[in-house]
Amino acid sequence: MGSSHSMPEEIQELADKTGFTLEQIEHLHRRFKQISGDQPTLRKESFDRIPDLEFNPIRSKIVRAFFDKRNLRQAPDGLADEINFEDFLTIMSYFRPIEMNMDEEQLDHFRKEKLKFLFHMYDSDNDGKITLQEYRKVVEELLSRNPHLEKESARSIADGAMMEAASICVGQMVGPLWVV
């Protein structure tokens, strides 16, 4: 383990905080070091070291989510320049599978956290709302791998989706997708 997390208690603490097992944390730490190049923190450029990520159409959004302070539970908005291992674990913990022994409340909370994470990914200007513009960006990126679809079509798809979202949410106080 890295210098800052060498103590077993610390690892235990991390495990309690994030819900990972000790082995998982160890594995993640190895990976963390691999990505960061043995540095204590990750920067955005570090993610360039992952070759598989290169083809991901929404790569930038995903990488950005790692540095989003809302996801790091540090601040209501803003972007961190670098994240340490604990932050890395915090982000990773969003992707933990649900556990069998969770009760309804925990499950609900867990799901909401995940949804929030996604929401933050879409809501790039941190105002708690997904605007058409933001949505369009996401759709554009999603479609960016297909060179034959013009940006314009991405736009209209986003528009259509927004319209649809509006129509779905009507009548319900809480739209199924945007529980935030």
Partner: protein, 886 residues
């Protein structure tokens, strides 16, 4: 299934009996047509029976059709037995395997939700392989134990191998029965795909076990050597993987062939059926698992085939497949019933029958519970107890087991008659008793049902986003899991496979999101037209793709006309005004249709060809739309070059605004929960104002709400409002006469919404509003049309005039600039003249009928005009907290 009795077939080719010398006027040729006639007759009987069953909804809602068919078969078999004194017909294994089973398997493979299937492949394979192995061995061994214990009749002359053989054929869950019963139950997709996938994939295990044990029995247990067991194990892999490989090979061939069928559209569907059938036969020929072959062929070819073949062929494939599968299924169940009557093959042993029933139920349940326990450690969404109950209870046996037991060699397997009887009882028990009770059981256990809803765009988008995110997280973690490989596969597929197997035109536009989008748009467009165009009266705007739609039953044109008529004309004084309003609406409607619908030429060639369905109107249509579109764009280009901003643009603008506002009004109104009564012009007008000066929107839209109920009184004001709106949105300093608005490009540039678009688009959105911004239907329209258009003209070909138009602006503006400019164009003389008249010219409404060819150059206006431009008219509606409550 057909005439099994030897003499009938054997004597068929004989010359008609009693052929009298000379030339008779009529000859009785029954024998020549007997075989096909019987086939047709049976299918007809079965199909008629289906109609009869469906007459009583009460019965069919309780009793699955398969049960009814079996009972019918029993009845018919009884009648035949009574008349002919012997059982004439029964399910022939060769008929069953060669003709009846393939359509069902192909249908289920082809329409298998592949994503769901592969997501659950691990579970499916576990249940199919391990579960079936466990079931057969446990059942066989337990029955043998029963025999050893002396509980069975001495007549059951069978050793361990015989019982294992019987166990192997009786333990396989049957795809036909499962499909028939579960389709009516509507359990959730995951559960369904697991049970159903298992029933398909366990075929390999069943085939191998059956063959291996059969050969063991035939060899005699004494001669079986260790290598034979090894061979058995090896043959499992050969049979299953080989079967799947044959399926994949034929899927590849099929996809490749359909790539080149452009000129022989009419036989496209045939290839699908032929190659799938060839896959089945090829696998059967080399004794591989034919069910696996067809299943995989169906699953894998679908994506490419659907992209390649024409829309009509797609429908044909779908319907033919369903028809074939459904009739096969019907015939199978009916003949199961008929076969059961044939008591000559029965040999009853109570202990065997009861033992078998008990064991298959017991071991199935045990197997499911054990496997699920293991699987749940790996599954993201565990299968809970209720799921397990349904899975164990849903293990239906069916015709496959029956056909296999009939195939047994009576000389080698001496207990065959007992096995036959037991199999029939088991099949009847599972299909009748379990089939009948599973529906109440599912209800009682409150199993999650499937919620059948049409795909929504958001779902598709988010699903893709999830996929990418999860793949990315796996990348980051460095864990190469399922999603990683799926991602890899998709990349490989996009780069190589799709390019190889899809038509160029199809490949270019192939994208799931885009597909869903097009589908939804086409559906919207169809309903738009179906509703008699009255979508435009805002309140009527119910698009089927919107899940919250109300019932469409009252959307017939006459109803709409009647309603809107009666709603508007209550006050005699305002009839004039009302008429003008309606005229206006009609006019606008007309322009929308005129601009966005394809107008077929009235020159139909009466031609008949066996090989072609008319000179493919679709393509001609696409071509014309495209050409008109290009023409329009060129004109646009010309005028933008000269920097002409004529009055046309004003009119166009106004119209745009109007329609958009209507849309927005519709959206604004829906949340109120008000019944969609006629939203009238004035509301529209108010909405125009809302959109234009975003500062006042609060007051304005509250005005909208107020006005909503007042109706007709506001009509006069409405026109003013429109004019104001237009003024505001156009250039503020021009004279109100709509006709002679002087070109003032600078002010327009200053004021027009899309001009101010660099960067800050939120100008038109107040902070309290929802930010879920509805867009004009035109955008949707435009896309559905342009998607058609792009079929004919791949997007790559278009940028000609496009590029020219844009020559000036910076690259990032490209997408924004050229399209909005087309809004400025108003080349259609009709439209120009329409505005002044719009105050009340009755003939306007007739124009659609009178001049179907009118204004061809306006064609595709919607398609070119202003997707982005329109959409930038961000109209918020006034529900501050609804969508973003957090």
């Amino acid at each position: 299934m057909q005439p099994p009795t030897g003499p009938a077939l054997a004597s068929a080719p004989e010359s008609p009996p009693g052929a009298a010398p000379g030339s008779p006027l009529l000859r009785w040729q029954w024998r020549e047509v007997q075989a096909p006639c019987l086939v047709a007759g049976w299918i007809l009987v079965a199909s008629l029976a289906k109609i009869v069953f469906q007459l009583s909804r009460k019965v069919t809602s309780v009793v699955p059709e398969s049960c009814l068919l079996i009972l019918l078969g029993l009845g018919l078999g009884g009648i035949v037995l009574a008349i002919a004194k012997r059982a004439e017909y029964q399910l022939e294994p060769s008929m069953f395997f060669l003709f009846l089973l393939p359509p069902i398997v192909l249908d289920s493979g082809y329409f298998m939700p592949s994503r769901l299937f592969f997501d659950n492949l691990g579970a499916i394979l576990t249940y199919a392989v391990i579960g079936t192995l466990w079931n057969s061995f446990a059942t066989g061994a337990a029955l043998w134990g029963l025999k050893q214990a002396g509980l069975m009749d001495a007549g059951v002359d069978a050793g361990l191998m015989d019982f294992l053989l019987f166990g192997s054929l009786i333990s396989a869950v049957d795809p036909v029965a499962v499909l028939a019963v579960f389709e009516e139950v509507h359990i959730n997709e995951t559960l369904f795909i697991i049970v159903f996938g298992e029933s398909l994939l366990n075929d390999a295990v069943t085939v191998v076990l059956y063959k291996v044990f059969n050969s063991f029995v035939e060899m005699g247990p004494a001669h079986v050597q260790a290598t034979d067991y090894l061979k058995g194990v090896a043959s499992f892999f050969v049979v299953s993987l080989g079967g799947a490989a044959v399926g994949l090979l034929f899927a590849f061939l099929l996809a490749l062939i359909t790539r080149f069928t452009k000129r022989v559209r009419i036989i496209e569907p045939l290839f699908v059926f032929l190659l799938a059938y060839m896959a089945y036969l090829a696998a059967e020929m080399v004794s591989l698992s034919s069910i696996l072959a067809v299943t995989f062929c169906g699953i894998c070819c679908k994506k490419y085939v659907e992209a390649n073949i024409s829309r009509k062929s797609r429908t044909t494939v779908k319907y033919t497949m369903k028809t074939l599968a459904s009739s096969s299924e019907t015939v199978i169940f009916m003949f199961l019933g008929i076969s059961a009557v044939d008591t000559s093959k029965w040999a009853w042993d109570t202990a065997l029958v009861l033992g078998t029933l008990l064991f298959i139920l017991l071991f199935r349940a045990v197997g499911v519970i054990l496997q699920t326990w293991v699987l749940n450690r790996f599954r993201l969404t565990p299968l809970d107890r209720i799921d397990q109950v349904v899975m164990s209870y849903g293990g239906l046996r069916g015709a496959v087991a029956f056909a296999l037991v009939i195939l047994l060699d009576g000389d080698k397997v001496r207990a065959k008659d007992y096995f036959v009887a037991t199999t029939i009882v088991v099949v009847f028990f599972t299909v009748l008793v379990q089939g009948l009770t599973i529906k109440p059981l599912v209800k009682w256990l409150k199993v999650k049902r499937s919620d059948h809803h049409k795909p929504t765009l958001n779902e598709e988008l988010h699903e893709h986003a999830f996929d990418h995110i999860l793949a990315a997280v796996e990348d980051v973690v460095g864990h190469h899991g399922y999603r990683y490989w799926r991602d890899r596969w998709e990349q490989f597929d996009k780069r190589y496979l799709s390019q190889l197997l899809m038509r160029k035109s199809a490949y270019r536009l192939k994208d799931e999101i885009w597909d869903v989008y097009c589908k939804l748009n086409i559906r919207d467009a169809i309903s738009f037209v179906d509703q008699g165009g009255h979508v435009l009266s805002a309140s009527r705007l119910t698009l089927p793709s919107m899940p919250s739609r109300t019932s469409m039953s009252e959307s017939s044109v006459t109803n709409l006309l009647r309603e809107s008529g009666s709603g508007a004309c209550l006050d005699l004084q305002v009839i004039d005004t009302v008429r003008s309003r309606r005229d206006k609406e009609d006019a606008v409607m007309h322009h929308v249709l005129c601009g966005s619908l394809y107008k077929p030429r009235r020159r139909y060639k009466a031609s008949y060809s066996r090989h072609f369905i008319s000179p493919s109107t679709q393509e001609r249509q696409d071509k014309e739309i495209f050409q008109q579109n290009m023409k329009r764009r060129l004109e646009t280009f010309k005028s933008t070059k000269h920097n002409v901003c004529s009055a046309k643009s004003k009119a166009r603008l106004k119209k745009d605004g109007r329609k958009k506002q209507k849309k927005s009004a519709a959206n604004a109104e829906l949340p109120n929960g008000k019944p969609p009564r006629s939203v009238t012009w004035q509301q529209t007008a108010a909405a125009v104002l809302v959109a234009v000066d975003s500062d006042d929107e609060e007051s304005d839209s509250s005005e909208t709400e107020k006005e909503e109920d007042e109706g007709i009184v506001f009509i006069a004001r409405a026109t003013d409002a429109i004019l104001q709106g237009k003024k505001a949105s156009g250039s503020l300093d021009v004279c109100p006469s709509p006709r002679i608005i002087p070109p003032s490009p600078t002010s327009a540039e200053r004021e027009l919404p899309w001009k101010g678009d660099r960067g800050d688009l939120a100008v038109y959105i107040s902070s309290e509003t929802t930010k879920i911004v509805p867009v004009d239907m035109q955008a949707a329209w435009k896309q559905s049309i342009s998607s058609l258009e792009s079929v004919a003209s791949p997007p790559g070909a278009e940028p000609g005039p496009h590029a020219k138009t844009v020559a000036g602006p910076a690259p990032e503006e490209r997408q924004m600039m050229p399209e909005p400019r087309t809004c400025f164009q108003f080349p259609n003389p009709l439209l120009r003249s329409s505005r002044p008249q719009s105050a009340g010219s009755p003939e306007r409404t007739e124009q659609p009928e009178l001049q179907p060819l009118m204004a061809p150059d306006e064609q595709g206006r919607m398609s070119t005009a202003a997707g982005p431009g329109n959409s930038r008219w961000l109209i918020q509606f006034n529900r501050p907290t609804r969508f973003s409550d957090g």
